[in-house]
Symmetry: C2
Subunit: 440 residues, 2 copies
Amino acid sequence: VRVVLLSGGSGKRLWPLSNDSRSKQFLKVLKKSENELESMIQRVKRQLENVNLINSTVVTTSLNQVDMVKSQLGLDIPVIAEPSRRDTFAAIALASSYLYSVEKVSKDEVITVLPVDPFVEDSFFNKVKELENLFSNTSTDLGLIGIKPTYPSSKYGYIVPSSEDNNVVSVESFKEKPKEQEAELLIQKNSLWNGGVFAFKLGYLLDILTNYNLPLNYNQLLSDFEKIPKNSFDYEVVERARNIKALSYKGSWKDLGTWNTLTEEMSTSVIGKARLSEDSVNTHIVNELDVPITAIGVKDIVVAASPDGILVTDKAKSPRLKEYIPTSEQPMYIERLSGEYRIIDSNSDSSNKTAKLSLYQGYKLEDFNEDNSVKNYVVLSGEVQFIEGQVNSFVRRGESYLISVRGHYSITAISDTELIEISLTTGNKEKPLLKIPSLT
Amino acid sequence: VRVVLLSGGSGKRLWPLSNDSRSKQFLKVLKKSENELESMIQRVKRQLENVNLINSTVVTTSLNQVDMVKSQLGLDIPVIAEPSRRDTFAAIALASSYLYSVEKVSKDEVITVLPVDPFVEDSFFNKVKELENLFSNTSTDLGLIGIKPTYPSSKYGYIVPSSEDNNVVSVESFKEKPKEQEAELLIQKNSLWNGGVFAFKLGYLLDILTNYNLPLNYNQLLSDFEKIPKNSFDYEVVERARNIKALSYKGSWKDLGTWNTLTEEMSTSVIGKARLSEDSVNTHIVNELDVPITAIGVKDIVVAASPDGILVTDKAKSPRLKEYIPTSEQPMYIERLSGEYRIIDSNSDSSNKTAKLSLYQGYKLEDFNEDNSVKNYVVLSGEVQFIEGQVNSFVRRGESYLISVRGHYSITAISDTELIEISLTTGNKEKPLLKIPSLT
């Protein structure tokens, strides 16, 4: 069996901690052990390790989150970069072609696709492992995991069974987000919530690609990525499949996609520099700023702070967050495998901008300086090498380096380094607030 | 009549907006006009202007707030700097000696001392003006303003009258912070809250100084400041005075010393970069950070943010703030007449520190660079002149300047200027987090 972990999403539902460069699955707020925190994706990795599936796992994610995935999961797990956002069918198709043409996986091998978001018990992953068995003696097209409903939710999709045999459910149909009354009827018929897990034989999916005249070779499919139907796997595959089986899972299954659900699973009520009065009730603080937070006498509140913003929300109201996120704010910080980039000061037209950079040993930052731009770098710790045209300069703690002429330049970290970058631009030629340096 | 305005206090009761360098009276959160905000001290100045007393006013404040007073009130009002905190008697004594020996005020002139904190209606200042009349035909030692109580408060001091004649109350005794029951009895006897306003003939106070063998000359008293009894004016003078009269004031009189009382008088529910959902109730946000604040679905909350901290408090609980202020945090920013100093990044041991400075045209910043310290300055706007020993350098926008040897140096603003200062120290010799540059 091979596992494809879908690490998608650019969700702002956990603003200000999640932003376009850091989805919710990367937030380190869950309890790993008494003293350690982990992110959702790290938790899933740990759970895959527990059932010995981690060495069979590949991760698909958008191009701009590849670095973040590697930074959190390490370099041993292959990461497949989706060239653009094209929904889950395209992501799974790309991963399948990778497994087939690069990793030479057999067409008979079972592929299990997992979303990264649900917060589940370890036993869920035993079910994931059991999915393979559905394909041994049957003509199963698709295997799913159905979650025993705990209430008639109108937010989920339902798997409607035709029969159940030894915990294996034969799927009759699906029902997306029914009204509560209808959901109650569905539950009476032993319907299950659809867990978003898909298992299939590799050949099954490759046949679909072939029907679309799409190549099975990974590099060719990468080039043809825009030709893949922009559709969810549910609509493109699940709804058209004939023989669908589901394993039933009874246990905790949560979407930690809003502040009220996420904080239920937080290890402590306070993460970061913060103080909560002892008379505060059901309140959580997550602070990624250096500025300390104090909360006094509050109830059912989440306070979350990052360089992007400070949120104070009633927990029950937090799902309405999207309406209130400041518009057109670009992220004030970026995390990369190679380091971090954080704007610590900028004026309103961004013609002056001061940023703090971390660059880890051996990594290189490449940038281009425009005619109308001047950059001053001061090394706070470590040592870097600046290369600007033919000029090659080593710069140590306390020293500074000026980039004032037009052209490419690079900064290589000789050791782990922190720098302050002060950028000034003149003239009308507007530079973007956050020019992301390409890191190699 | 001469007015002495006492601008004291280092209160942290409005943390994080007030700190050791900025007391609550300097917070610009009150409504001046439809589109303008003013601070408490600016409001008092405006009210003194309305009754034509502003040209007779001097302000006393602690040495480290002189700049802030001048910055908010302008340069026309004399500011008397208390060399150290020595309570109100010492402050009033120093101001009296200034009026006598520097401004040559007659011993028969009436001096009226006003606290800066109470939030009052303009009619209060008519009473202040009337205080002078108490001294025309009587043997009055002291004149006070008594506030008609609106409820039996146990937080205030009470003036107990012996008789009242034409709105002039003869004072029999005082009662500090009575229990509520006792307060009710006092109110039945027409007692008044003590407004903290003191009027006396200059000679009356000078006699007290003479009895202590203290000099009447301002410069001599400044030198002998530590010899002045460290006592409140209430204990030192009021409780010993024989013939005390009070004018009765009926109207609004509030101490805006806590977040719940202050926000009652705020002009808008939001000041600074912030957004409040329309379903939030009785909630105020004051944001001095560049990071935007969003509050959703909250009730009876104050959110206040500055580089020193972020407070989220239930309004009714805000008086308990003192217990929860992060200890030993030094201010992250300082406002001066000459400009601003704001730490935008620092590491935990403060061996690396990046600050943004504003320096207004013509002002000069003087500093000393230690052996183990390196400072990089980058000019973001304007032009400055660095003087380091015999070296004299003009530095413009985009240019940088390095201070790397031990010694005095200065920065003079040729025009209004913004600079980034990056300080690095090495070795064990700890530098204070916030070395306040002396500004001239």
